[in-house]
């Protein structure tokens, strides 16, 4: 798969405080912004699920002990390629590889299943995770939207 070209056709950046009620709003904003690509139900559901995982992680883990802002940036490139960046300035992840292991979670007592990263990897084509303890975490999710018309 080739890298997306540098200039997006359209983009939006959203910031909101790390409140769990904003998880739903983040999904809504993503599907609203991508509606111009006319995604089919299955890919829209995949994208919303992946975004929900990343935003929830920022709220639940990133800002576990603190308040803070979550940033989400959605970009649309040529040929319906999309890139979604979710960023927090929270506690960060000491070992990203370990964190991405299926079923690994640091919050089992809160009914976290340890499957957030697994879902992001499965439902998107590409995932990049940058994190630094004490500085925060950035997750970049990428994929192509086929859309209804082109199926």
């Amino acid at each position: 798969m080739s890298r997306p070209p540098l200039r997006p056709l359209n983009e939006m950046t959203l910031t909101f405080p790390a409140l769990s009620e904003n998880e739903r709003f983040a999904r809504l904003a993503v599907s609203g912004f991508l509606s111009v690509l006319d995604p089919n139900i299955s890919e829209l559901s995949d994208i919303k699920t992946a975004v929900s995982e990343a935003v929830t992680n920022a709220i639940v883990h990133g800002y576990r002990d603190t308040a803070g802002e979550v940033m989400m940036q959605v970009r649309i490139f040529k040929d319906s390629r999309i890139s979604i960046k979710i960023q927090d300035k929270g506690c960060g992840i000491p070992d990203v590889e370990q964190a991405m292991t299926p079923l690994y979670t640091t919050s089992p007592e809160e009914d976290r299943a340890g499957l957030g990263f697994t879902i992001m990897e499965t439902f998107m084509e590409k995932i990049k995770v940058k994190s630094k303890p004490g500085k925060g975490t950035t997750v970049i999710l990428e994929r192509t939207v086929q859309g209804k018309k082109r199926l």
């Binding site: 769990s20 998880e23 739903r24 559901s45 919303k48 009914d111 299943a113 499957l115 879902i119 499965t122």
Partner: protein, 128 residues
């Protein structure tokens, strides 16, 4: 949102709306209270009206599985829509909690009678 009813040792939890980390916490509280009070042998979670689910739904099922398993009970995942099945399969939920598309035989018939009675009582829709 959630509606819960227990009859004949079976608890039926009907979930609706989006199931994410935010709503799962509210649903969990209601289900666990019912389990602690009624000690059912079976918990049937009906997903037919769930409009979205991420891994928080898996956590909700797994947590209830642990509680039910301790008291030798079982959890049944009923009527999940297609996009929810995808998440359930990825998590391998069916190894612990059977997934079914049909409620028949799983819950006592009189649970429906109670539901009817409740419907007549409730004039305004319930909000959580």
């Amino acid at each position: 949102m959630i509606k819960i009813l227990t009859t004949g040792g079976v608890t039926l939890a009907e979930l609706s709306g989006d199931l994410d980390h935010h709503t799962a916490r509210l649903m969990r509280t209601d289900i666990d209270r019912e389990l602690a009070e009624k000690h059912p042998r079976r918990l049937v979670i009906d997903f037919s009206s769930v409009t979205f689910m991420d891994s928080s739904g898996i956590g909700l099922i797994m947590g209830r599985y642990r509680i039910m398993n301790e008291q030798d009970g079982e959890v049944i995942v009923a009527r999940p829509p297609a996009y929810i099945k995808k998440v359930l399969r990825l998590a391998g939920v069916d190894r612990l909690a059977p997934i079914t598309d049909d409620l028949r035989g799983l819950i006592p018939k009189d649970i429906f009678k109670e539901k009817e009675a409740e419907k007549i009582e409730q004039t305004a829709p319930q909000t959580t």
